[in-house]
């Protein structure tokens, strides 16, 4: 498994490579894009805050990467009329002239256009394409693409069923969750993330509070540890299983993040990869991560887990369901976190918004 690191400038390459990055990805807009297409996104992020400044810097990135693959994101969910031809030409130049190993693409129209141009084998299908089952995977394999990036909201069991042969597989490993399935969120961050202002219903209730807490964890808890590590979504304890499934690449999210955060995240992922490579279990990986990162309480409750089913034997069941089998070493011990959201069990205090109220169509 390689660690896939985000980039926005050539100055970041050396530090990320030293931290353990095996691959890089970045966003870049074709020259003249803004004049032709205004503020339409090329790569799902602001070109100014998350994109590589220009082709000259991209060339420096590829040179400094020293043979490590560099991927370019052209992964907006949709493009304006006339943009596809421009992006195909740009993509062809990136691959043929600039040393870009593959193009990360979300929109099917662009995938098909790149395929027409003979570039399908240099396409990585973005997580925004929402490939969630083996049938969808077969669809993309038949298009001839090289890799599929699985969406954030999948379980390990689903990855196991979906990751069919004939494709490379990439999964999310660290940072920056999404409230909604990214591929089925039809809004844009250009107006501010839509999820930030989402409430369950008109009247406040305790589910809203829990919903806000979940969204806060997805947003990296708005902070970092004293050792400089992000308190965001983390899938590192799942590495032993992901390795067994043949996952090729672990995505560290955050092209627009400061370099210090990127380096710390890659370093942490490298610690986990090393622990897994030594044959470590999920517990070994967790202990290695905690030793590096600190803040063991963050693992309590599995609140930050990208793949919480790695600890499925310790997760809360729905009220009224049978308690799960006791875990051998559950991370979900019922110790309250800083935010006061302890991991409950089936007997935990019920929430105020009852299922019967929901069936009646109104919150309590």
């Amino acid at each position: 498994m390689k660690i896939l690191a985000p980039l926005r400038h050539s100055d970041e390459v050396d530090a990320l490579a030293a931290a353990g990055a095996g691959e890089f990805y970045c966003g870049i807009a074709p020259p003249g894009w803004e004049q032709a297409f205004g503020s339409a996104a090329v790569h799902r992020r602001s070109a100014r805050s998350a994109g590589v400044p220009d082709l000259a810097d991209l060339r420096r990135i590829v040179a400094r990467a020293g043979g490590r693959p560099v991927f370019a994101a052209l992964n907006a969910p949709s493009y304006p009329a006339g943009a596809i031809a421009r992006l195909v030409e740009f993509g062809r130049a990136l691959v043929a002239d600039e040393g870009i190993a593959a193009l990360i693409v979300a929109e099917l129209e662009l995938v098909l256009a790149l395929r027409e141009a003979g570039l399908a084998s240099r396409v990585h299908v973005s997580s925004l394409a929402t490939c969630r089952n083996p049938g969808a995977a077969a669809f993309f394999r038949d298009l001839g693409v090289a890799r599929v990036i699985l969406p954030r909201h999948v379980t390990l069991a689903e990855i196991e069923a979906t990751a069919i042969p004939g494709l490379e597989w990439e999964v999310f490993a660290l940072n920056d969750g999404c409230t909604f399935e990214e591929g089925t969120c039809s809004t844009t961050h250009a107006f501010r993330p839509y999820c930030l202002d989402d409430r369950v219903a008109e009247a406040p209730n305790r589910v809203d509070e829990r919903y806000a807490f979940w969204r806060w964890t997805l947003d990296n808890c708005g902070s970092q540890t004293s050792r400089g590590y992000t308190l965001g979504p983390c899938g590192l304890c799942a590495l032993p299983r992901l390795a067994a499934l043949g996952v090729a690449s672990l995505k560290v999210v955050g092209r627009e993040a400061p370099l210090t955060r990127k380096v710390a995240s890659v370093r942490l992922a490298a610690v986990a990869v090393a622990a897994a490579a030594r044959g470590g279990t999920r517990e070994h990986v967790r202990d290695a991560v905690v030793a590096e990162r600190g803040a063991p309480e963050l693992c309590a409750g599995a609140h930050l887990c990208y793949y919480p089913d790695v600890w499925a034997d310790g997760l809360p069941a729905p009220r009224g369901a049978r308690a799960p089998a006791a875990a051998s070493a559950p991370p979900c011990r019922p110790a309250a976190t800083e935010a006061g959201h302890g991991a409950g069990g089936p007997s935990a205090r019920p929430v105020a918004l009852s299922a019967s109220a929901l069936r009646r169509g109104r919150p309590c």
Partner: protein, 278 residues
């Protein structure tokens, strides 16, 4: 114009399909007759019907001269198997619903095992922007309807035996084409009046079934008894005046009526949603 009906109570068919719209919409829409009865779900695999319920709806639809149309969502591997079982059961009962797919795996299933069922590309196949805040400065929308957009997708769908495209009104236009793509153009359906804004697996209504510390990401794959059945919850946002609803795992808003106008000329069918539903 033909109409597809997505009704709160699918056993009560209105004589005029426009009766299923909020009153303010009725005069805006052209006259037409209902031709299809929609059921199932486009957004949540836990809302897929059981075979008996789906069979009864197929029978009811046929009794009213309507084509039963089963909507299906993006699905997990388990969901894909569930749809396979559902379709097998319906076919075994000699039911032949049209199937709306939103997942490439479901399309593959239809092509491989249920090739005789009419297949329709659902509104999640179109990933164009629908952000309700995009209507703040342009209340009638800014869709350009350039038919060159998605021309390859439409050709691919035609080649895969798809009969029709379905979509919400989006902010860009063009997804439905102009009907002139080929000798056998795809039929075009427009969903009104509720447009989906965002959907996902971290359903807060499902989370309400769990104690503190449970639900959300820890319950993505858990089966859900669907407490969202019933009325959708009204939701209010500080950044848009458009009415919003939470229907299970999905947020919908009512499309500005002015924005629907330019889409109507490009549609052969309007799918009427009596209420927002996942």
């Amino acid at each position: 114009m033909e109409y597809g009906l997505r009704l709160t109570d699918p056993t009560v068919i209105p004589p005029d399909p426009r009766a299923a719209f909020p009153a303010a919409w009725r005069t805006l829409l052209p006259a037409g007759r209902a031709v299809a009865l929609y059921f199932g779900t486009e957004f949540c695999e836990d809302r897929l019907p059981e075979a008996a319920e789906a069979g009864a709806l197929c029978t009811a639809a046929r009794a009213h001269g309507l084509e039963p149309t089963l909507a299906t969502p993006l699905v997990s591997p388990d969901g894909l198997r569930r749809i396979d079982r559902l379709l097998a059961a319906l076919v075994a009962r000699d039911q032949r619903p049209a199937v709306v797919f939103n997942d490439w795996g479901v399309l593959g299933l239809l092509r491989e095992r249920y090739a005789h069922l009419p297949r329709r590309a659902g509104r999640l196949v179109n990933r164009s922007l629908r952000d309700p805040r995009g209507y703040r400065d342009a209340p009638d929308g800014g869709a350009t309807h350039d038919a060159s957009r998605y021309a390859r997708v439409r050709a691919l769908l035609r080649d895969m035996g798809v009969a029709a495209l379905e979509t919400d009104a989006d902010l860009e236009g063009g997804y439905l084409g102009d009907g002139g793509d080929a000798q056998r153009p795809l039929r075009r359906a427009l969903h009104l009046p509720y447009t989906y804004a965002a959907s996902g697996r971290g359903c807060p209504l499902k989370a309400a079934l769990y104690p503190d510390g449970g639900g959300f990401a820890k319950a993505f794959a858990d089966p859900c008894p669907a407490p969202c059945r019933g009325k959708p919850l009204a939701a209010r946002r500080p950044d848009t005046a458009l009415p919003h609803w939470r229907a299970g795992n999905t947020l919908f808003y009512e499309l500005p009526r002015g924005a629907a106008g330019t889409w109507l000329d490009r549609a052969d069918r309007i799918v009427v949603h009596e209420a927002p539903a996942p």
